[in-house]
């Protein structure tokens, strides 16, 4: 152990981040984290900037975190908070649950059914859910966050999280049953 280890933690806690690991981390985290950033700032381009700033910081520090998931979501949230401080004047908070409740009826079950891969078909349906519900679904099923963790990250109540998940699963079940009836 060298004297230079001033940060006060054991080197075993961090591994060096190489190109491959960095790309891997980005690929794994992108789908949910990007949606989270969009949810927070309601602007796709700004969300992308915040997301990439977080990753650039990680890359520059060459650190692979033990709990990357918790860290990344927190970092994106901080990034979004700073963003709000800067652009509060022209920021308008959309109540997305009201705005985006319309489900795209043109997305057709026939095509959906053609996706041989079951998970692909399901995520095709999940992607049609309203923005917040979809994000919650990703955080819950893909990232494995608990109701409580999701509630904290989204600044909503645990009950709301649960409600979205229940309705999300209900929607999936209805659509899948409908598909199966049509193509039996």
């Amino acid at each position: 152990m060298g004297e230079n280890n001033t940060a006060g933690f054991n080197e075993d806690d961090v591994r060096t981040l190489d190109d491959k690991a960095f790309e891997d981390l980005y690929r794994r985290m992108y789908p949910t984290l990007k949606k989270y950033a969009i949810y927070l700032v309601k602007d796709i381009e700004d969300a992308q900037l915040i997301l990439n700033d977080v990753f650039i910081a990680i890359w520059k520090n060459k650190i692979l975190l033990i709990n990357e998931k918790a860290y990344l979501f927190r970092a994106v949230k901080n990034g979004a908070n700073n963003y709000h401080k800067i652009s509060r004047s022209n920021f308008q908070h959309l109540e997305d649950d009201e705005v985006q409740e319309v489900i795209d009826v043109s997305a057709d079950p026939f095509q959906t059914y053609m996706y041989k891969d079951r998970a692909r078909m399901l995520y095709h349906l999940i992607d049609q859910m309203p923005e917040r519900r979809r994000l919650i679904f990703y955080m819950y099923r893909i990232e494995g966050f608990s109701y409580k963790e999701i509630a904290a990250l989204l600044d909503i109540s645990v009950r709301t999280v649960e409600d979205h998940l229940v309705k999300g699963f209900q929607f999936l079940q209805e659509r899948v049953l409908k598909n199966e009836a049509e193509f039996r």
């Binding site: 992108y30 860290y71 026939f110 999936l172």
Partner: protein, 338 residues
């Protein structure tokens, strides 16, 4: 399955994942009670559990790549360096990470990703330009100006070769009876095995499919439900009326007229003048500005691959209009139609 039951199922599943034995026993009992109420319930529950399982893995997608490339570009100019900021950052990061270890339950979730993945590739022809596309299955497509087409990158492996069209295109589909070729455009679906045909599906007009060779099935697509298909042979076209939504068949003299546009030709047959202007705008990449409605005004004319000036002169003589050209904008005035 109602909301109450879904809530119960989700609670049950997370208690199971987190190994909360006492809660689990209680939830299981409530679930059993529910199952006993109706024999159908077992089936519902099985399906719910399948949905839970099947949503654990996100299908792979290439979406991340583009934004990752942006990072790469901004990083290339800066080499990673160790400095004071690095130490503070890493210390902070480590503290957060360690704290998070205590807070967040250790969930070892498999993030295995499926090997196959579908990314849609979109090609667009800008106004004034026709694009020639060769798909990986050797299908040839002429994409008319102002149109776009999307196809999945796995089109060679997929069981259906599906493409989505906005606007107009002429297809020469490579024959492959095992993998039908499907075009989705506006509210119609065209299904073929291997033929050549033209699809015209401009916004706000009735979509048309014209067959040059082979056999084509056209059906109306309403929210994914296909109507009974009509079958077309060469020199026939299928039209889906925009108003009534009904699909009908028309015999035509020469189907080749329908693909004249691939050689820069334009054919109008009692065509409303507003539609004529739209065609010209796309064909020559111009904007036509007029303050007149030109209602009840129709044009019958045939243009070879000629300059826009020639086209405008002809219309000027036929309809007695005046026009001025300013760069890409054409101003039209007068005309005996009004």
């Amino acid at each position: 399955m109602d909301q109450e039951t879904w809530k119960l199922v989700l609670d049950y599943l997370s208690a199971k994942e987190q190994g909360k034995a006492r809660e689990l026993a209680d939830l299981e009992e409530r679930l059993q009670d529910w199952l006993r109420k109706d024999p159908q319930h077992q089936q519902d529950l099985d399906q719910a559990l399948r949905l839970w399982e099947q949503t654990a893995i996100l299908p792979d997608s290439e979406e991340w790549k583009e934004s990752f490339d942006h990072i790469q570009i901004s990083l290339q100019s800066e080499k990673p360096r160790q400095n004071k900021a690095f130490l503070i950052w890493s210390a902070a990061a480590a503290v957060i990470a360690i704290m998070a270890m205590f807070v967040v339950l250790n969930k070892s979730r498999q993030t295995a990703l499926p090997v196959d993945q579908i990314t849609w590739i979109t090609k667009t022809s800008n106004p004034g330009k026709i694009t020639n596309i060769l798909l990986p299955d050797s299908t040839e497509i002429w994409l008319n100006a102002g149109s776009s087409i999307s196809f999945p990158d796995n089109i060679r492996q997929a069981s259906f070769r599906t493409v989505k069209l906005n606007g107009e295109a002429f297809f020469k589909v490579k024959r492959d009876p095992k993998h039908p070729f499907i075009v989705q455009s506006l509210n119609i679906q065209t299904r073929v095995l291997g033929t050549s045909f033209n699809i015209r599906a401009w916004k706000n007009s009735s979509p048309e499919v014209t067959v040059l060779t082979g056999k084509v099935a056209v059906s109306r697509d309403s929210a994914g439900v296909q109507s009974k298909a009509i079958h077309l042979v060469p020199n026939q076209k299928g039209i889906c009326d925009l108003g009534s939504g009904l699909l009908h068949l028309e015999n035509i003299e020469d189907a080749r007229l329908a693909i004249g546009w691939t050689q820069g030709k334009m054919t109008f047959d009692q065509t409303p003048i507003t539609t004529v202007f739209e065609v010209i705008e796309r064909r020559y990449g111009v904007k036509i500005v007029t303050d007149q409605a030109f209602k009840a005004c129709k044009l019958t004319a045939k243009f070879d691959n000629v300059s826009i000036n020639e086209v405008l002169k002809t219309i000027q003589m036929t309809l007695d209009i005046r026009y001025t050209i300013n760069k890409q904008t054409i101003y039209i005035k007068g005309g005996k139609c009004n």
